[in-house]
C-alpha cells in the first residue's frame, strides 16, 4: 500500500519528533537557533541561575540587529564607537558576554557579516531546507522561504531551546496559499504578500502553518520568497513555507555554512524528497491570481489594510463588519487620512528602504533602478537605505548602488533593523508619514505617532523621488 501523501510541513515535522506524548504534544528537535540581543539576555540569565549550559552551541548563531544604531560603528582610526543609548549599549554588551561565556558563534557589531538575523541566516547558509529553525523574533517565518520550518518564540522558549535544543509543540493545521499566473509589469514579491494579507486578513492564518505554492511563488527568486514568507506572521501564521527547488539549491550552494562536498550531495538528495506529495491534503486552501495583484500599499494600521496604489482611502462605512468599521475609523484618525483621497495624492516626509522584509541585494537593485538619474523630492526630510547585512552592503557598493542613492540624496547606512521599529535612533517623527519597506504598520511602530505605509522597495523609491505615494509603473523605463 502506498503511504499517505504528505505535505512539506508534515514531512519536516515527522523528521523532528523526539517524543510524542499522550496528549499529542511532541518534543520537537530544533536544528538551528538564531539569537539577537533583545530577546536573549533573560534566557541566558535563566541558564546561569540554574547552572545550565547551552546544549548545542554549534547549532546556535548570534548577531545583534534591533538596537544597533545604523550610523558609523568605527571611527577613522578603526576604533569602535560607543552607543549613546545606555540600555541599547547594555543589551549589546550582554549579548557579547553571553556568547563568549556559552561559546556561541557570533557576528559582532563590526563584523562584515553582521546584519538582521533573518537576512544573515539564509545568506550564510545557516538556514537550510527541511530544518527546524527558531529565533526569539516573530519574523523568523522568513526562513520558510528556503523550505525550513521556522517560527518565532518567546524568551522562555529561547531558554528552553538553548538548554535542551528542543521545544514542546502541538502540530498545526495546514493552509495552502496558491498564487497562479505571471506577475504584471512593476509588481513585486512585496505586492504579492500584501495582496495575500489583504485577502486573508491579519488573523486569517492564526493556528495554521502556511505553504505558498503556484507559479508566481515558483518564479520568485529566493530573495523574493523571503519577502513573502517573512510577512506570514502579519497574516497570523507563525510559519510560511515554500518548497525547496532548483532556485533554492542554486542559492545555497557554496554559502559559508551550507553543506559541502559529499554532505552537499546527501543533503540535496534528501531535500528533493521534501516537497508536498501529489494528493496531499491541506486543511484550508486560499487561491489568488497574479492578474489581481498590482503594486499595493497599506492605508491603515493593520497589515490587512491593503489597497492598490491606483486606489483611494476607503470609507469606514464601506466595511460590512461593525468592528472593522470602528477599527478603520480609528486607523484613519491615527493616519490623518480622509476617505476618498487618492492614494497617489498623499505626501510623505520619510522613506525607509530596509528591514528583514526588503533589504537584500535584489531589493536595493529594484530601488536603485527607480532612483537612478533622479533626486529625492524637496518635501522628503529623511530617506534611509539600510542594507540587511554587511555582505549586502558590500555587494551593493561593488555594483555602485550606494552612489546612485547618495547622489540622489538618500542616506546610506550600516546594517540593522533601523526604522522598522523604534528601538534604535532611526525613527519617524510624530505625525509624519513614511513610505516603508518594512512589515508592520502598527500604531507607533516606527516611533510614537508615526504613520506608516507599507510598500515595496521600488514603490518606496518612487515615493522618495516624487514626494508622494506613487505608482512605480509611471516611473519605470521612462526618464
Amino acid at each position: 500500500m502506498a503511504s499517505k501523501p504528505l505535505t512539506l510541513y508534515e514531512k519536516i515535522w515527522a523528521a523532528h519528533v523526539v517524543e510524542r506524548r499522550d496528549d499529542g504534544t511532541c518534543l520537537i528537535y530544533i536544528d538551528r537557533h538564531l539569537v539577537h540581543e533583545v530577546t536573549s539576555p533573560q534566557a541566558f540569565e535563566g541558564l546561569r541561575m540554574a547552572g545550565r549550559r547551552v546544549r548545542r552551541p554549534d547549532l546556535t548563531l548570534a548577531v545583534p540587529d534591533h538596537n544597533l544604531p545604523t550610523t558609523a560603528r568605527i571611527d577613522a582610526a578603526g576604533n569602535r564607537l560607543p552607543i549613546a543609548d545606555i540600555e541599547s549599549a547594555q543589551q549589546l554588551a550582554a549579548l557579547e558576554r553571553n556568547v563568549a561565556e556559552f561559546g556561541i558563534d557570533y557576528f559582532g557589531a563590526t563584523a562584515p557579516e553582521q546584519g538582521i538575523v533573518h537576512v544573515v541566516g539564509p545568506e550564510q547558509g545557516f538556514t537550510l531546507p527541511g530544518t527546524t529553525l527558531v529565533c526569539g523574533d516573530s519574523h523568523t517565518s522568513a526562513h520558510g522561504a528556503l523550505g525550513a520550518l521556522a517560527f518565532g518564540i518567546g524568551t522562555s522558549e529561547v531558554e528552553h531551546v538553548l538548554a535542551t535544543q528542543t521545544l514542546l509543540l502541538k502540530q498545526s493545521k495546514t493552509m495552502e496559499i496558491r498564487v497562479d499566473g505571471t506577475l504584471g509589469y512593476g509588481v513585486s514579491a512585496k505586492d504579492v504578500v500584501l495582496a495575500i494579507i489583504g485577502k486573508t486578513g491579519a488573523a486569517g492564518g492564526t493556528g495554521y502553518v502556511v505553504e505558498y505554492t503556484g507559479d508566481v511563488i515558483r518564479d520568485l527568486s529566493v530573495e523574493g520568497r523571503l519577502t513573502v514568507s517573512n510577512m506570514s506572521i502579519e497574516g497570523g501564521a507563525r510559519s510560511g513555507l515554500i518548497a525547496p527547488d532548483e532556485t533554492t539549491y542554486a542559492y545555497l550552494k557554496g554559502r559559508p555554512m551550507a553543506p559541502q562536498g559529499e554532505n552537499w550531495d546527501r543533503a540535496l538528495a534528501w531535500w528533493r524528497t521534501l516537497p508536498t506529495d501529489a494528493g496531499a491534503q491541506y486543511d484550508k486552501v486560499v487561491q489568488l491570481h497574479a492578474s489581481d495583484i498590482s503594486p499595493s500599499l497599506t492605508w491603515g494600521t493593520s497589515p490587512e489594510d491593503v489597497v492598490p496604489i491606483t486606489g483611494v482611502v476607503p470609507d469606514p462605512e464601506s466595511f460590512a463588519d461593525p468592528a472593522k468599521r470602528i477599527a478603520a475609523q480609528k486607523s484613519l484618525d491615527y493616519m490623518g487620512l480622509t476617505p476618498g483621497t487618492r492614494m497617489q495624492d498623499i505626501a510623505v516626509e520619510n522613506i525607509f528602504i530596509g528591514s528583514c522584509t526588503n533589504s537584500r541585494i535584489e531589493d536595493l537593485r529594484a530601488a536603485a533602478s527607480v532612483v537612478k538619474g533622479r533626486h529625492v523630492a524637496d518635501g522628503v526630510r529623511q530617506a534611509l537605505i539600510v542594507p540587511g547585512s554587511g555582505l549586502v552592503k558590500r555587494q551593493a557598493e561593488a555594483e555602485g548602488l550606494d552612489r546612485i542613492f547618495t547622489e540622489a540624496g538618500f542616506e546610506w547606512r550600516e546594517p540593522g533593523c533601523s526604522m522598522c521599529l523604534a528601538m534604535n535612533p532611526d525613527k519617524v517623527p510624530p505625525g509624519e508619514r513614511c513610505a516603508s519597506t518594512s512589515n508592520r504598520n502598527f500604531v507607533g511602530r516606527q516611533g510614537p505617532g508615526a504613520r506608516t505605509h507599507l510598500v515595496s522597495p521600488a514603490m518606496a523609491a518612487a515615493a522618495a523621488v516624487t514626494g508622494k505615494l506613487t505608482d512605480v509603473r509611471d516611473l519605470m523605463g521612462a526618464q
Binding site: D58, Q124, G254, P256, L391, V392, R394
Partner: protein
C-alpha cells in the same frame, strides 16, 4: 525553581479588571537585560496616582495580588511575570487570566489561582485587614474568618509548582531520548552538524548576499 506548596500573607486587595501587561510593566522597561529589578517598573502608571494600593504601607511586600477578570491580557511580554516576581508576588487570585499570562506566570513559579467573582469580592474585603492563605496541597484559599474557597488547577502545573520543577528541567530529564534522537539524526542527516566558530572567519563566498 523554588517549590511552592503554600503562599500565605498579606494581599493587595485590588480587584481591578482587564489589567493588561502594559499596566503591569510598561513598554519602556522592555530594554532590560535581567529579570531582576523589573519590580521597580511594575504598575508604574497605577503608582503615579496618589493613594494607590501598591504604595500603601499597609500592603507593602504582600506576596499575593487579588485582581479582577482577564488579568494579564494584551502583549505577550514575559516581563509582566518577571515584574510581579521581582516585586515579591508569589500568587495572583483572579476570576480569569489571559492564556499567555497564565503560561508565563507558571513558567516563573507564580501561582495563578482562579476563583469566582463572589470569592474575589470577599477576599478583597478580608485582605484589607487580614492575611490570606493559598494552599496547593488542599487546593483552597482560606482566611482567618473560616472562609474556604476551593479552586482547580491543571494537575501537571500543580505538580511542577509543588516540586519546583521548571519546564527546562522537565525536558532535561528526557536527555536520553534527546541524545538518541541526536545520534540518529547525525547519521541520517550528517550535514546538519556544524563546525563551530565560523564567526569572524573570512567568508568563502564573500560578496554573495
Amino acid at each position: 525553581m523554588e517549590a511552592v506548596k503554600k503562599v500565605e500573607g498579606k494581599a493587595y486587595p485590588w480587584g481591578a479588571k482587564n489589567i493588561d501587561t502594559d499596566i503591569i510593566i510598561p513598554a519602556h522597561w522592555l530594554k532590560t537585560i535581567s529579570r531582576e529589578g523589573l519590580g521597580r517598573g511594575a504598575f508604574e502608571s497605577v503608582r503615579a496616582q496618589p493613594g494607590n494600593i501598591f504604595d500603601d504601607p499597609a500592603y507593602a511586600g504582600s506576596p499575593i495580588l487579588i485582581a479582577g477578570d482577564n488579568f494579564g491580557c494584551g502583549s505577550s511580554r514575559e516581563h509582566a511575570a518577571w515584574a510581579l516576581a521581582d516585586m515579591g508576588i508569589k500568587a495572583v487570585i483572579a476570576p480569569s487570566y489571559s492564556d499567555i499570562f497564565s503560561g508565563n506566570a507558571f513558567k516563573n513559579g507564580i501561582v495563578a489561582v482562579v476563583l469566582p467573582q463572589e470569592a474575589i469580592d470577599r477576599l478583597v474585603e478580608v485582605a484589607k485587614t487580614d492575611a490570606v492563605t493559598i494552599d496547593l496541597e488542599t487546593m483552597t484559599v482560606t482566611t482567618p474568618f473560616q472562609d474556604r474557597f476551593a479552586f482547580e488547577m491543571d494537575p501537571f502545573r500543580r505538580d511542577c509548582l509543588m516540586q519546583g520543577l521548571d519546564e527546562v528541567g522537565l525536558t532535561l530529564a528526557r536527555d536520553t531520548a534527546i541524545s538518541k534522537y541526536e545520534s540518529s539524526a547525525a547519521e541520517s542527516r550528517p550535514w546538519l552538524v556544524r563546525e563551530s566558530s565560523n564567526a569572524g572567519v573570512a567568508v568563502e563566498a564573500g560578496g554573495r548576499t
